[in-house]
């Protein structure tokens, strides 16, 4: 029995007793089941496994603490009405917001945060980490940590602009189709069907093979691939609004299509559209990451998470985990956006499962 094991179990038992004494059922159940699980795993796997469980639990607790604090912070700085709604946000949602906020900071202030330039060669290839380089060097001797920071700007920026392009095209077409109806609606619907029946990655590869891997080609390709999905949703949401009486009244007043879309339909369908934007961003982000992993995304020497994984993949066969960090960064942001979208969908639909 090492000191760590004794301390670990003592802390767990004291914490669960405290929770039980103050009649906090949720925390008590969590803490006590953690104690039991650690007990079983500790017997089976020894102190090493126990340390792993403890680290995992500590990371979870730390994330929960950060999200809790961040939510309280948001509640205080937000206007009263928004603050009230934020108070009901689950911890996962505030964790998502915190992650998005962090990525935003990293992307905007990348040149000030990163110790070195993104394409600056400062060491030999695959040099190990030292006090100068937090995560070591990549395959050309550039600082890995700086490149990850710059990657936030390049990868997320590309995915975001592609999503905005797809969204603009899809939403405008959907709103027009819903208000105009008739042959335009039919034609756009069939067109969207055809595009959606081609697998997205395959279609992107086809377009990139023809027009070459340039940033603007990627944005246009992604916009063409994802606009039909946005079109469908906008068409469905706006279709429900179009049949309302106030639209009829506006039409009788003699308002034009532009006014109808801007002042009557759009304000009544923003909530699902914002949630859709988040989901769409996740898909686009993963697609763009996949493309750049295949070497068809942002071209070197610009730092980009997908291609960084591919370029440094040889390190993995030596048991080094650093090439996984950019991939993990992609996953973390996608999870975070999903958490926030989940909460927004839940809020806007007022959906309560029993």
């Amino acid at each position: 029995m090492s000191q760590f094991v004794i301390l670990y179990f003592a802390a767990l038992i004291v914490a669960s007793c405290l929770a039980a004494y103050y009649k906090k059922q949720g925390p008590f159940m969590t803490l006590f089941s953690l104690t039991l699980i650690s007990f079983v795993l500790g017997i089976v796997g020894g102190a090493g496994t126990l340390r792993l469980v403890a680290t995992f639990a500590a990371v979870l607790a730390f994330a929960a603490g950060v999200s809790y604090a961040f939510r309280e912070f948001l509640v205080v700085i937000a206007p009263t009405k928004l603050g009230k709604e934020l108070k009901t946000a689950p911890l996962t949602a505030s964790f998502g917001m915190f992650v998005i906020f962090t990525y935003g900071i990293a992307a905007i202030f990348a040149p000030w945060i990163a110790p070195h330039g993104e394409s600056e060669v400062i060491a030999s290839a695959f040099a190990p980490a030292d006090e100068n380089m937090l995560l070591g060097a990549d395959q050309l001797g550039r600082d890995m940590f700086s490149r990850i920071i710059y990657g936030a700007r390049n990868s997320v920026g590309l995915a975001l602009s592609a999503t905005i392009a797809a969204f603009a095209i899809g939403a405008i077409a959907g709103l027009l189709a819903a208000t105009k109806g008739g042959w335009f609606d039919q034609f756009m619907g069939r067109f969207a069907d055809v595009i959606m029946s081609i697998p997205s990655l395959i279609f992107a590869l086809l377009m990139l093979s023809i027009f070459g891997p340039h940033v603007y080609v990627i944005i246009i390709a992604v916009a063409i691939i994802y606009a039909p999905r946005v079109f469908r949703l906008t068409r469905a949401v706006a279709g429900n609004v179009v049949v309302m009486d106030y639209i009829e009244a506006a039409k009788l007043r003699g308002e034009g299509t532009g006014y109808l879309i801007r002042r009557e339909i759009l304000p009544n369908s923003t909530a699902p559209l914002i949630a859709e934007f988040g989901l769409e961003f996740c898909f686009v982000f993963l697609l763009v990451a996949g493309l750049s992993f295949l070497g068809l995304g942002i071209q070197p020497p610009t730092a980009d998470w997908g291609s960084m994984v591919r370029e440094n993949a040889t390190l993995i066969s030596f048991g080094d985990y650093t090439p996984l960090i950019p991939a993990g960064a992609i996953a973390l942001l996608t999870v975070a956006v999903n958490f926030v979208v989940d909460w927004m969908l839940f809020r806007s639909s007022g959906l309560k499962e029993q």
């Binding site: 081609i198 395959i202 590869l205 996949g290 992993f293 993995i316 996953a331 958490f339």
Partner: protein
């Protein structure tokens, strides 16, 4: 019976038309190349005679729609022309790789489908418990991770640290089946992780949707035991959504395979497509795209037909 056959035939017809439109898109997109294929293959520095000779050899002097019908006619009987880069028949390059890819997808599906459906039903029955929440977070993480992230994590642990499975799936002729399963285990597992998460979430949603319907409440109120409610009342109606979920995810599997094949250097059609894209070998790109699109459409079609067959209400569209 007659109207079912009719409906299925109608769906098949729609699928065929979609495929035809897609083949038009795939073919004429290459025509959008600045210059033409011959110029693109030989590069800027090529002499005029060389380009003209290649044009003659590839039949580029015919009008585009004539070449389209020649290409389509060939594609129907499995002849996709010759590769620009290596000069080999495209069909010989692709056939074996396509079989490998189908094997990988089938391997993953055989593990993932029963596993995901069972878990989905269990999670739906235990909804809003701690188990459900943990499952929700885990599946969401797995969906949100790029395939190459999961693949490399598996390589790091299973191949490098614990040395249980090979990191690179090199296949050779005359391998025993057990050896084949061992070599392709990690890529299959990666696909399983991604697809299971999707399938589980969709199954859960379908079942929960079903359990909220009035006839389930009726069955409960009349005192039927819980297992009977599930097996006799819920399950027959759940088949349609579940079949849908399976088919959609198999379609997803076919395309998710591209990234996984690259990670594990698996000799499949996805890898061939990626190679061809970077070498700008258009006949192979076109062939692979057509095959992927056809598989995708076929599986979606299967989902539609399966839903129609198991749900009598869909047979009489309003």
């Amino acid at each position: 019976m007659g109207d079912i056959v009719n409906l299925v035939l109608k769906r098949l017809g729609f699928g065929l038309i979609t495929l035809l439109v897609i083949s038009v898109i795939i073919f004429f997109m290459v025509e959008l190349l600045p210059g033409d294929i011959a110029q693109a293959v030989l590069g800027q520095g090529a002499t005029e005679e060389n380009v003209a000779a290649l044009r003659e050899q590839m039949g580029l002097n015919n009008p585009a729609f004539v070449r389209y019908f020649e290409w389509l006619g060939g594609a129907v009987v499995g002849d996709f022309g010759t590769s620009i880069v290596s000069g080999e028949r495209v069909s010989t390059i692709i056939t074996e790789r396509f079989i490998n890819t189908l094997f990988l997808a089938a391997y993953a599906a055989v593990i993932a489908v029963p596993f995901a459906i069972t878990l989905g039903v269990v999670v739906a029955l235990l909804r809003n418990t701690l188990f459900d929440r943990v499952a929700n977070v885990l599946t969401l993480t797995s969906i949100s991770s790029p395939e190459f992230f999961l693949g490399y994590i598996l390589i790091l642990f299973f191949a490098v640290k614990w040395q249980m499975f090979p990191a690179i799936s090199s296949l050779s002729d005359g391998m025993s089946f057990a050896e084949l399963l061992d070599r392709t285990f990690l890529p299959a597992l990666t696909l399983v992780l991604v697809v299971t998460a999707h399938m589980m979430r969709m199954t859960r949603a379908a079942i929960i949707n079903l359990l909220a319907s009035p006839y389930i409440e009726m069955a409960r109120l009349k005192g039927a035991p819980p297992w009977k409610v599930i097996v006799k009342h819920a399950l027959p109606n759940a088949w349609a959504p579940i079949i849908n979920v399976i088919a959609l995810n198999l379609a997803y599997l076919i395309t998710g395979v591209v990234l996984v094949e690259v990670v594990f250097v698996y000799p499949g059609i996805g890898q061939a497509l990626v190679d061809a894209v970077s070498k700008r070998d258009f006949p192979i790109v076109q062939a692979c795209c057509l095959i992927f699109a056809a598989t995708f459409i076929l599986l979606n079609l299967a989902a539609d037909v399966g839903a129609i067959l198991t749900n009598p209400r869909l047979r009489h569209p309003k």
